[in-house]
């Protein structure tokens, strides 16, 4: 029974232990990735030990890779393109991570982020390309596109929420169905739209960049800081939204209500909270967050959407799940875990271009980390036990 009494204290004020348990997960995940590289390299006759050693070093430090030097050896140093692109790729991940984390706090597993993300991508692109920029100022178009995406995402997220609240449908299944419906809706609407890129013949299957209509996220001077990269002001917006969500969740009555609903639905209902309304609202906000991520990504002006997407769902949507899990669903933590994930993403690209391995190794590492985060509570308890034992020994 004593464990039970300890639990509340363990869950509160445990920021340090949470971070530590995530770090432990990350280290084990990276070690596993290196091990896999070693095993595959040892079994594959075409790979030399040099390749294996390079692969293992890139897994850890790929962010600081500057390619190969004149002698053919790996070169290291600050790489502004890597850093800028890491920040740029982290932007939508922060948003989908927030989306999953937000719903999770309310007791809902939002696996519908890919669909919400797609709806956001479609709406933002259609608004950004559909309003002529010679009549309306591009900044106003950008804002309209961003808000439009959030509304579309909110509606799309609310659908499984409504099914769950009113009809008791399992939200995981409802989300998966809405994902595939969204994939088909997006393909259908773009197929009959005038936004398909037909002027550049090399780009078959893509939608125009928003720069075709002079719409692009402001760079805020960040491109001077990281020359050559895709970075823009979106990362600042994403971080501000994350802080906003943190305040909403932990400092407002509304956030408390949502969390109470997630912690114990029946108790919340008994206390007079509107649990059904909360479920729908929570899913709508989660949907809006995912969609905003898509808007930040596709309004940047240097990204293109592959529109015939009915056979696959966007990975950024699904990756919101590992981002949220690694952050233990803390909105501030999401910023850092998204940065970590996008760093792995950059590392994957470096590994692909510099060695015989490929970028999927980083997906394996992410999966291992998520697997470990499933028993983060266990790791935390382990750490806590070690720490209290050390304290006792110190007292002796």
């Amino acid at each position: 029974m004593s464990r039970k009494n300890n639990e509340p204290r363990l869950l509160e004020g445990n920021g340090f232990q949470s971070v530590l348990s995530s770090v432990v997960s990350i280290i084990i995940g990276l070690l596993f990735g290196m091990l896999l590289i070693f095993i595959v390299g040892a079994l594959d006759k075409n790979m030399s030990m040099k390749t294996v050693w390079e692969g293992m070093r890139l897994v850890i430090g790929g962010l600081f890779s500057t390619g190969r030097g004149a002698s053919g050896e790996l070169a290291w140093g600050f790489n502004s393109i890597n850093f800028g692109n890491m920040l740029f790729r982290a932007t939508p991940l922060i948003m989908t991570g927030l989306s999953v984390a937000f719903a999770y706090k309310t007791g809902l597993f939002n696996i519908g982020a890919p669909g919400q993300y797609l709806m956001g991508a479609m709406t933002s692109l259609m608004i950004a390309l559909g309003i002529p920029s010679d009549k309306v100022h591009p900044v106003i178009i950008w804002i309209l596109a961003f808000l439009g995406a959030m509304i579309a995402g909110a509606i799309w997220g609310a659908i499984p929420g409504i099914f769950k609240a009113l009809l008791n449908t399992n939200e995981v299944i409802a989300c998966i169905m809405t994902n595939w419906i969204a994939a088909n809706v997006v393909t259908w609407l773009f197929d009959i739209s005038k936004f398909k890129n037909v002027t550049e013949s090399t780009k078959s299957g893509y939608i125009y960049k928003t720069t075709f209509n002079n719409v692009a996220t402001t760079k805020l001077g960040l491109d001077k800081l990281f020359p050559g990269s895709q970075i823009n002001g979106g990362i600042i917006i994403a971080i501000l939204i994350a802080i906003g969500i943190y305040i909403l969740m932990s400092k407002t009555t509304f956030g408390y209500e949502l969390r109470a609903c997630g912690a114990n639905k029946d108790a919340a209902k008994y206390a007079g909270l509107k649990d059904k309304r909360d479920i729908v609202l929570s899913m709508a906000i989660a949907g809006a967050l995912s969609a905003a991520g898509a808007a930040l990504y596709y309004l940047s002006g240097n990204t293109e959407l592959f529109w015939s997407t009915y056979q696959s769902l966007p990975a950024i949507g699904f990756n919101g799940i590992p981002v949220a899990m690694l952050a233990l669903t803390n909105p501030i933590g999401v910023i850092f875990s998204a940065l970590f994930m996008s760093m792995l993403n950059i590392i994957g690209l470096q590994i692909t271009s510099l060695t015989a391995y490929n970028e999927y190794i980083t997906d394996v590492i992410i999966a291992v980390i998520v697997y470990l985060s499933a028993f983060s509570l266990l790791i935390k308890q382990f750490i806590a036990r070690r720490m209290s034992r050390k304290k006792k020994e110190g007292a002796k």
């Binding site: 696996i111 299944i173 419906i181 391995y357 190794i361 999966a367 985060s373």
Partner: protein, 343 residues
Amino acid sequence: MTFLIQQTLKYAIPLMIVALAGVFAERSGIINLALEGIMIFGAFCGVLFVNTMQDTEWVYAAYREDKFGTLQLVVVMAMIVAAILGAILSLLLSFASINLRANQTIGGTAINLLSPAIVLFLIRILEGQNTLFLAKGDAAEWFMINKTMFGYGPKESMGFLGDTFVHKTYITNYICIILFVLLSIILYKTKFGIRVRSCGENPHAADSLGINVKKMRYAGTTISGALAGMGGFVYALTTANCSSNGDVAGFGFLALAVMIFGNWKPGPIVGASILFGFFKCLAAGYSSIDINGDGIFLLKELGLSPHLYRMLPYIVTLIVLAFTSKNSRAPKAEGIPYDKGQR
């Protein structure tokens, strides 16, 4: 009509067997969200096995000499390989959720992330591209059951039943059906099955009667993993021309939907998978379906967008779920880690 039935079964059979995989896990009290990941892994292992076997002299000789028995044996062996490796992968989930009492949804999601990553990592290293194909020829030519194997001429008809259920089918269909029936009987009529189910309903009561809850949950999830792995290979063989690309088009999740729609019971699951398979088949081949055989392609002439047909299976599932969820009854203890001290 023959075409319609064959195409429907092509989608319905893997759905059915993987939905049963879900039933075994959930009835024992473990939510197996990893069905999709295990299917992907099973598909890869089975296809890799077939691919490797094609290069052996034994199998290639059988192909040249039309010894179709040997080729069918290869398929069955691949099913077994996929099942064993699927079961091994599912141990990751069992270990996390039974021994460590971790969150089952996250554990399942981790496997769903892990398996396409590992599969694509290996395929890229093996093949230099993102898809693993057969080493030689295509699946239909190598492994499909054909009427000529039974002494019929190419122009002769086997009758409606023969043409529909024997000609141009795969042996996997029948193995899956037999397994489905056998396992359903085991789940409902044997001591073992009742024990597994009791652990999903009331593990404390089960424990008090001397049933080893951990063991039963391990059994449920392992059977689940084996069936999902096998189902993945069946999917790859029959609908993806025996290729593997780290994706089963969301079939594992669809199987979960079918399981919920089928109320965690084998009988309704058969109906649900056939319904779903039918709509999938409409989406894939609506333009070449001639319902009553009069040479008029009704659906094509309706002129509806192909996008609509592709969306239909998911919309129908969602609507059906909406109507059936009120009465659906999930196993009571599913998703809750078993804690002896709790009452």
